[in-house]
Symmetry: C2
Subunit: 455 residues, 2 copies
């Protein structure tokens, strides 16, 4: 049985390792387009900030026992009938046959088609090579300022990273605030944190064009024009407006695409092509709360889907349990995390959402170092079902693992009441007798009851 895997990032490597673990006799080949197997894309901002001094540290793993890893091998086409992949390496094309194929081609940063989008000094950030290019630019040209286009995860992490490298950063955000993946009340606090660290935030705009602003002197190398008439000088521009699934290769072979143009897969990670599976950023993601496929480009999902695909490819019976949309982010000294659905997402899905916000200390205020957390909890007014939560607070306040408590409850389809019933730990330095997520659940229940009476 020859298992061929296209892609050597999180999903591909996870699939290979799991297949080998389940069936040590399986013949496994993994095609890697570049020279960097299993490098952490999520770690690129920390390499660029200088917090991760050596790029080699970014490898999740460096050892792949039982797996034939072919570096610099680019899959050019899949013949799903003849069961082979045409692979380019060192200028030559050759077919590699397979019994089972896993497509794990990942995602590609969206490069907005604006004038000047490919000028020197304008970068996207998704690969090691792009990271090296940006790092070289900073080291060799000592840019004074940067414009970052996009205020999602990568945009915010890069604002933090480049500020740390001494650049004056301007962040262009298309939404009213930043980070459209959380509610505005929290996003505004992220903006405060950015301001506090000297980042200029220009919101409600998109980039319209980029010009080379003239060489040398005191002028900046580039100038970004935004949709509201603003002009922003910069020596470096990062385009961070999101990613799209790299699904063309599979599509050309006949794979059906689903939401957001990702390869449509079942919970068994099966595509519509026989013996062709797909996993990770190139594929759709089953969402447990929506009970439907969605698209989310996240390392956690890539790892999980890869593990399932690898196990299925060698005959295992598992399936992907699905996402509940759990995500976290550090920006300077803030942690922001969410899980489940935002109010508008829940409404679109047919729920009757109520979101309640509270502030609570991360631990008993009488123990030194207590800090306030902002919590928002969303539940279905009709059924009482828990639908999601968002937390923002100091990065030392266990924000992300608190969201994970809610994520664990969501996984099981818990009610808001059950979140409040959980037997969570307490000691004054770490929490309160009711954890803040439970205080939020209680506030939600009280507000639901009060509204019920007033209707």
């Amino acid at each position: 049985m020859h298992l061929l895997i296209i892609g050597g990032s999180d999903a591909g490597i996870s699939a290979a390792l799991r297949a080998h673990e389940i069936d040590p006799a399986a013949d496994i080949t993994l095609l890697l387009a570049d020279d960097y197997p299993n490098f952490s894309i999520c770690g690129l901002p920390y390499f660029l900030s200088g917090q991760t001094p050596h790029w080699q540290q970014l490898a999740h793993r460096t050892d792949f026992p039982g797996i034939r890893v072919l570096r610099g091998h680019i899959a050019r086409s899949i013949d799903a009938v003849a069961r082979r992949v045409h692979v380019e390496h060192a200028g030559a094309l050759r077919p590699i046959p397979y019994d089972r194929l896993i497509v794990a081609t990942g995602a590609t940063p969206v490069r907005p088609s604006i004038t000047g989008g490919t000028l020197e000094g304008v970068y996207t950030l998704h690969t090691m090579d792009e990271s090296f290019a940006i790092d070289r630019h900073i080291t060799e040209r000592s840019p004074r300022s940067a414009v970052i286009v996009g205020a999602g995860y990568i945009g915010l992490e890069m604002a933090d990273a480049l500020t740390r490298r001494g650049l004056q950063v301007t962040l262009l955000s298309r939404s009213t605030d930043v980070l459209p993946t959380v509610d505005a009340a929290l996003a505004r606090r992220v903006v405060d944190e950015l301001h506090h660290h000297g980042v200029r935030v220009v919101s409600g705009v998109s980039a319209q064009r980029i010009d080379a602003a003239g060489a040398g002197g005191t002028a900046f190398a580039l100038r970004v024009a935004d949709s509201e008439g603003g002009r922003h000088g910069a020596d470096l521009v990062i385009l961070a407006v999101g990613v799209r699934p790299s699904s063309e290769l599979a599509e050309r072979a006949g794979a059906a695409l689903g939401v957001h143009g990702a390869i449509a897969v079942t919970r068994q990670m099966q595509t519509n092509l026989p013996d062709v599976l797909a996993a990770g950023d190139c594929a759709t993601t089953y969402h447990r709360l929506l009970d439907a496929p969605t698209y989310l480009s996240l390392g956690t999902i890539a790892h999980k889907q890869g593990r399932v695909a690898g196990e299925r490819a060698v005959g295992g019976a598992c399936e992907f349990a699905g996402t509940v949309g759990s995500q976290s982010l550090k920006v300077f000294d803030l942690a922001i995390a969410r899980t489940g659905l935002l109010g508008h997402e829940a409404r679109d899905a047919g729920f009757d959402p109520l979101t309640v916000a509270i502030q609570a200390d991360d631990h008993k205020s009488y123990f030194p170092g207590a800090v306030p957390l902002q919590l928002r909890i969303t539940g279905d007014r009709r059924s009482g079902r828990l639908l999601g939560a968002q937390i923002l607070g100091d990065r030392r306040a266990e924000v992300s693992k608190r969201i994970d408590i809610v994520a664990a409850a969501l996984y099981q389809g818990a009610s808001v009441e059950q979140l409040n019933e959980l037997d969570l730990t307490y000691t004054p330095p770490f929490s309160s007798p009711w954890d803040p997520v439970q205080l939020a659940a209680q506030a939600w229940q009280a507000q639901r009851a009060a509204r019920g009476r007033s209707v």
Copy 2:
């Protein structure tokens, strides 16, 4: 409807507040034996360490709207037939009638019946008055050294606290290590931490007698003789060998007692006496994994049981969801947390437990500040059911909220496989694509499979 509550610590106050919230018209009287309503017993070590400078900070709440709080009122007897409680206040006894009664009399520290156990300078720690006495002793007499008898939560927290106050601390532990509520492998690391901060640990011994060692000079004021012939000089002795439920008052009124001598209650917090409920440290605790009552003296449980008792007392329909045994502790710079059952507890309960240990970094090692966590996960070999987990690591490594993820899974009766499937957050500064608790789950699954093959 007159609701009478005996006890003004966590359970009693929670009951009163919840009853008032559900039925603002309810007539609620709360009897408080001392002058300190709703003070955090868990916070006493931090008052004594000096980290909580003002004792008033230890109040969870100071405002009790809609509740008649009678301070210095001691319930002397309950007449469950005539529905009244005989209450002593300022030397006089008077009956207070009730329609519903909640007994929340808490727990009492066990004072071992050893010679010298009541000498001056020998203390237990459970009330504000005891805290004041110890604090006064330290402030006025400048003791150089302390012997702490007992190495559970209070013993360890007091070792930390008194070291911080400048005392040389000797800790006498009855078990082979310390902290018998976690596995020995973790307990040994707690011992290392104690040693690292200058605490002498004498294990496998109990205190046999305490002598006044002679006044003045360089001699210590007290001398503790242990069961192995050791002699330990001290100027201060703390007895911290556990608590027992304060259930005598209810027992004399005809309440049936259950496990550990606690008042037997249903999940509705009902005793066997009509219209008499009980909650908190004086009552038994339903355990979800054991599906049986147990006894656990924890603030989290007292709050939850109090909330249920208060709601039921005014006609609500809720019930106590039960504990899964979640507990956490900070000792110097270490956090230790557990949830569920230890291996031997699971075996006693009829499970076929397998415990697997791993070490994993709290977050990606390429981001500064990563520290190793010690994780132990216990599951049932036959069914694959998750039974418990223990984590130890640096106090900044989100140990307690990581255990809470497992606690949330345990609440729902999850399998070890489902723990691995949870959609938890990831960003390099806070975790890994698989959280350490999931890596532990994977290691458990692999070891279970390997043992299955070898049998």
